[in-house]
Symmetry: C2
Subunit: 305 residues, 2 copies
């Protein structure tokens, strides 16, 4: 199975020429979707991948991620959950690469499990298909972590948390993160996980609210009760812990979760989940991406290049 793929997110462009599970060539730049205007995408893609196209005239070309959003190359409608390779392949949207070549944007998914809640993803659907999990729970951490329930090898349901973006907001723009100091003391992460326990549990009076716990982190520093070096890791632990409060409750208190993350971030999730008695298996997100694309090509019917 040979293909070319661009993993094209909000802030990064990454492209791979792939054979099986082996990456033959790769390139990346900071030309993420948010850095580009309408009409620039083809030029960026051809500048980075034009040589691969010329050298491999028959290879399918896939594009994954925010490249399919309204701000991306071509608006690619969300496919409703539950969805597997067949449904996702049917939602591919073509873009003209010139010289008779076509690229295919992988659609994101929309989930409306109960007619009230609405959730969306672009990119993680492909990772989930390649997670190796047929039935079980997958977690893809990041700016907007996704918790994804797989059934029969298809995405059955998912739930997004704004954990990573919230951490950045608090550190970069908020009074909450302002007293933070370097060097960071990473023991703060576990203290933040401790604090998140105060916003969960079956007893109603144990839950004080995330908006209070965040303020209390700042209060502890300005009142001289917590070192400013602990603050950022503490906020990270508190937010991660509250994500777990919600996700473990949402997904019926699973006993194991597969984490799609590289080592440093994966280790934090492993630690947080171990405290809740949840076993973890970790897989590289890039391997999951390539495996997911291979499933799309194999099980979906992608038109010829």
């Amino acid at each position: 199975m040979r293909f070319i793929v661009a993993d094209w997110g909000t802030s990064r462009f990454r492209a791979y020429r792939v054979e099986g599970e082996t990456i033959l060539d790769e390139i990346s730049s900071d030309e993420g979707v948010s850095a580009l205007q309408t009409g620039q995408h083809r030029d960026v893609f051809l500048r980075h991948c034009g040589e691969w196209l010329a050298a491999e005239p028959r290879l399918p070309v896939l594009l994954v991620g925010m490249v399919g959003s309204r701000e991306g190359w071509a608006m690619t409608p969300y496919v409703p959950c539950p969805a597997g390779p067949a449904e996702i392949a049917r939602g591919l949207v073509s873009v003209d690469l010139g010289q008779g070549r076509t690229g295919w944007i992988v659609p994101g998914l929309v989930d409306e499990p109960n007619g009230i809640d609405v959730d969306v993803m672009r990119g993680e659907e492909t990772l989930a298909l390649g997670s190796g999990i047929r039935d079980g729970l997958v977690c893809s951490p990041g700016t907007h972590p996704k918790w994804i329930a797989m059934r029969d090898g298809r995405v059955a349901h998912f739930c997004t948390y704004m954990t990573g973006e919230m951490y950045a907001l608090l550190c970069d723009h908020s009074m909450i993160g302002r007293p933070a100091a370097d060097p960071e003391d990473q023991t703060g992460f576990d203290l933040g996980l401790d604090a998140s326990e105060r916003n969960r549990g079956p007893s109603d009076d144990k839950r004080v609210g995330l908006l209070h716990l965040l303020f209390a982190a700042r209060a502890a520093v300005v009142a001289g009760r917590m070192s400013p070096n602990l603050l950022r890791p503490y906020l990270s632990g508190l937010l991660t812990g509250d994500e777990l409060n919600g996700a473990l409750s949402q997904f019926g208190h699973p006993t194991s979760v597969t984490i799609l993350a590289d080592p440093p971030r994966a280790a934090l999730y492993e630690r947080a989940l171990a405290r809740r008695g949840v076993e973890t298996l970790t897989r590289s997100p890039r391997e999951a991406l390539l495996a997911g694309l291979a499933r799309l090509l194999r099980e979906g019917s992608i038109p010829p290049a």
Copy 2:
């Protein structure tokens, strides 16, 4: 009872010359604490209030709010809860106004109810003293809303939420608020309150987590399921509702709350609390401030001017 007071917060300077409950003169500017450097405070105060000082050589001068913080005029240590007028008056810190006059900065409070949680306030302690509530719960909405339990006319315990600041972060700096459009459709506030119900309740599996509900608000707009005109009021309702989730749980599900807020903001809290079966009484924050200062002067022992 006559006095001069500066209500000196992060973003505003407001000063009043007061007799009883009547404001004889007032002045305000945007020279809040965050706009000033060390050493500038006396000049700002004298420029605005110098004439009052000259005309009223015996009047006590009080300063309330962030003016007592590390970034303010003179660091004024927090007084521990529980605290009433006597304890707060003992914590006053003097500043030299020149020509033999002294000003007194009202200390904020620190609350450590259980040796784990830490909370602080500067300014709201004075409003609470003047709330007219001897035993009961007081809510002071704002950037960092405070819920304050009064016992025997003293501040027994309080809890801060970062609701207002979070709303501003989401609207001004986050992907969550980016799809919002004008004109705002205020029915979104009640839809946001509805959504907050999904993060409370005695049954563990009902709680999805605030970090998910915030992302889901954006998802509903980008998936075309919610009008962009609803988004900002929706976020306001969701955050206010989640503040109530925490505060009502924290304070043992009270049957009534006194709100210290001016009409438009008070009306939102009244609406949100009515849905939870909580009765409300609303009082002007400025009246509460002046009544609280009068209590400090009457019941505390403030040194002569």
